[in-house]
Symmetry: C2
Subunit: 429 residues, 2 copies
């Protein structure tokens, strides 16, 4: 993505961003300034020192920080919204694994990944942590296409050497190791915006030997890590069988040093059924939780106790988990997170009150954004990721506040409401 933007410019509109986990800042007809790719603050009037800089006037549209999708599977985009009648393990074996096997065919991968990256580019997502497949070539192709979108993303070649069909299993731990090294060497220094992330699929897919080798790679290349954790009760029981020496699921990653810590930034998707011990370790190691409410609903997994995680001070963001989740929309993920938290409160545990719009918006912006650094806000110094949302498609007979407009767009915004996007100061459209 060539930088063609001016070093300094402003967007004018109704600016909304999180001050912190419980406060939303809104400014009508305000200016948010981008200077060298970072926010130089939000102002009700353009300060004198900025007079003369280019201004994009959005005509009253909403301007929000870009949204971070902390967990999604690019190869599964091709069957999003289909085969929604299965639970996790059956869905993996009957739907997901056969589809992912097709990405051995680079022509198929190009066709499928082009559709995915086109749609992701047009979405409100500015940062993402993405699973590819186990295929080195297809994953490199995915990274090439992702680079063209202008998003900043982690992309992982998946590692899996057990408990999956022949056509979607690496033949040995060392073959998986070597393919991973090749992938890292092939792509080293190749991209401006796309970074590799170590991606053991989940414990059931990776032998101990493979996990040890991946830990070597993690340390050698200083890679971040993404995987799945405590999504489904059947899965958790299986991990217990596979790893009798682990005290809990997360401990099985931690055993290999692949569970957070300063030298190993880690994002774990789901955490629907994390035990208190697991929560304590997530906290201790600074692991990011990717809460994926739509996927957890579609696959009948359950509802993660996000209120508890917020109370415990965990790092937490939102993920679409394409294609356990069917929608690529991170706006929808915000609404879904609120909705399932209400059902959990009503049906499971009324001591954990529902999530608010402020909290879930925070999770989708600053919460997940932190995995990428100083990302997800317009406070001064944050990387300038911005999305322009137009709500002209949603006429209303009375005047609305900025917060009401934002809430309505989160619940009702369709693709066509996204009319502008910037990533780290670069204009995508």
């Amino acid at each position: 993505m060539k930088k063609t933007n001016p070093a300094i410019f402003a967007l004018k509109g109704t600016v909304c961003f999180s001050a912190d986990q419980t406060h939303l800042c809104t400014y009508d007809n305000a200016y948010v300034i981008c200077e060298n790719g970072r926010s130089a603050g939000v102002y009700p009037e353009l300060p004198e020192k900025f007079h003369g800089i280019p201004v994009r006037d959005t005509d009253g549209a909403l301007i929000i920080p870009g949204l971070t999708d902390l967990h999604l599977h690019a190869p599964q985009y091709s069957f999003r919204g289909m085969h929604m009648d299965l639970e996790l393990l059956d869905w993996l074996n009957n739907v997901t694994f056969p589809e992912e096997a097709r990405y051995a065919d680079l022509e198929y991968a190009r066709r499928a990944y082009s559709i995915f990256t086109d749609d992701l580019r047009k979405s409100a997502t500015t940062r993402a942590s993405v699973f590819g497949t186990l295929h080195t070539d297809a994953t490199e192709l995915l990274m090439d296409l992702m680079e063209k979108t202008g998003l900043i993303a982690f992309v992982g070649k998946v590692n899996m050497d057990r408990n999956s069909p022949d056509e979607l299993r690496e033949i040995s731990a060392s073959a998986s190791y070597e393919a991973t090294i090749r992938w890292l060497e092939d792509t080293a220094g190749k991209y401006q915006n796309i970074y590799p992330i170590l991606t053991p699929r989940f414990i059931p897919s990776c032998t101990d030997k493979l996990m040890s080798l991946l830990a070597d790679i993690q340390r050698t290349y200083c890679l971040p890590v993404q995987s799945h954790l405590s999504e489904n009760q059947g899965e958790i029981a299986w991990v217990k069988e596979l790893c009798p020496d682990s005290a809990f699921y997360g401990d099985a990653y931690d055993h290999f040093g692949l569970f957070g810590g300063e030298a190993c930034p880690t994002v774990m998707a789901h955490c629907v059924y994390s035990s208190d011990e697991e929560i304590a370790l997530l906290h201790k190691r600074g692991v990011f939780v990717a809460h994926c409410p739509q996927s957890n609903t579609n696959l009948s997994s359950g509802i993660a106790p996000v209120r508890k995680y917020l109370n415990e001070g965990l790092h937490i963001g939102l993920g679409t988990d394409i294609a356990g989740g069917h929608s690529l929309s991170m706006l929808r993920a915000i609404a879904d997170a609120i909705q399932v938290s209400k059902l959990r409160w009503r049906l499971v545990d009324d001591s954990l009150k529902p999530l608010s719009l402020e909290e879930t918006f925070y999770m989708a912006t600053m919460g997940g954004g932190e995995f990428f650094g100083k990302v997800g806000s317009f406070a001064e110094g944050y990387e300038f990721d911005a999305v322009i949302l137009n709500d002209r498609q949603l006429p209303c007979p009375h005047a609305l506040t900025a917060a009401e407009r934002l809430e309505r767009l989160i619940y009702l915004g369709e693709n066509d409401c996204i009319t502008g996007k910037y990533v780290s100061g670069n204009k995508l459209f």
Copy 2:
């Protein structure tokens, strides 16, 4: 709506409709015939007897029966997707009642209802059972505007004479009675497609005296009835207090003869917490249940045991319940019904298995359609309500079956996928 259609014509495309509660029929590149406003069947090739009739070729789009929205509140459309942080009774008092009071102002009503009816016209909904407000004039205006959409709908002036603020309460039972008579006389014979429906808001809003007077009106004018039932535990407790002689909530309607039976077709929204006794009476009286999954989630009400209602043979359809529900999309209502049924199965009662796509599609078409007669199918003799769905916005790298395309549109279809609509043979667009 002037009839400008030919008496006989065909639509060509991928035709999908329910054979029954568990079977979906799909036909690629088929013809569905409309003759004098009713389906004359679906054919893989155009039969010789129909040669020469006008054919609208949808270029491979999906053609499904029109969807019936069994429960929604027109005046609440203005705040859909906002103020989503309250439970039912607080939400009524703090958000809904103040907004509905504004419809005393006919100019406001015109502005608001025009937005509502414009959007409803463009949606996949072909039939609806709609609440207005207590205002006679505004409700007549709503009926005028509804008539222009071309949809066939029941519209109700709401009755409420207690437990609501001064500005949204009729001053006495007899004033409510008289306003209702005026409304019925004003609109008698005025519309081709819009019918009045008696609409006591819910038990807490209506004195016994008002309920008795409404029962007189129901019998005199042979009106159908719509109201709310067993939506929220606080509401149910309140009804128990208000009606100590009623065995259960539904019994309080039944006491006045406003709970189904052959001479009193009735639709009751929600039924999240219906007791076995209440279910038995719903069944005995042939009352239609309007299942509103999105609203029951947003207002933290809970999840209705729809599987149980299907097992018991209740009449059941789907409702958006605007604006407890935020989305006017009945496609979304289908997906929501599946999703919450999975969470209920996982979190509440694993003896009631999740709803299938076939079952929920049936509920949105034939299930709710039956409240309007022979509606919701392309089987011969059904009224010809049809919606054309274009999925070009959802490219896919591999070929899809008709059922997969339908599932994907249900989960992902946005407003722009709806490219054609017919109601009882009349082309809307």
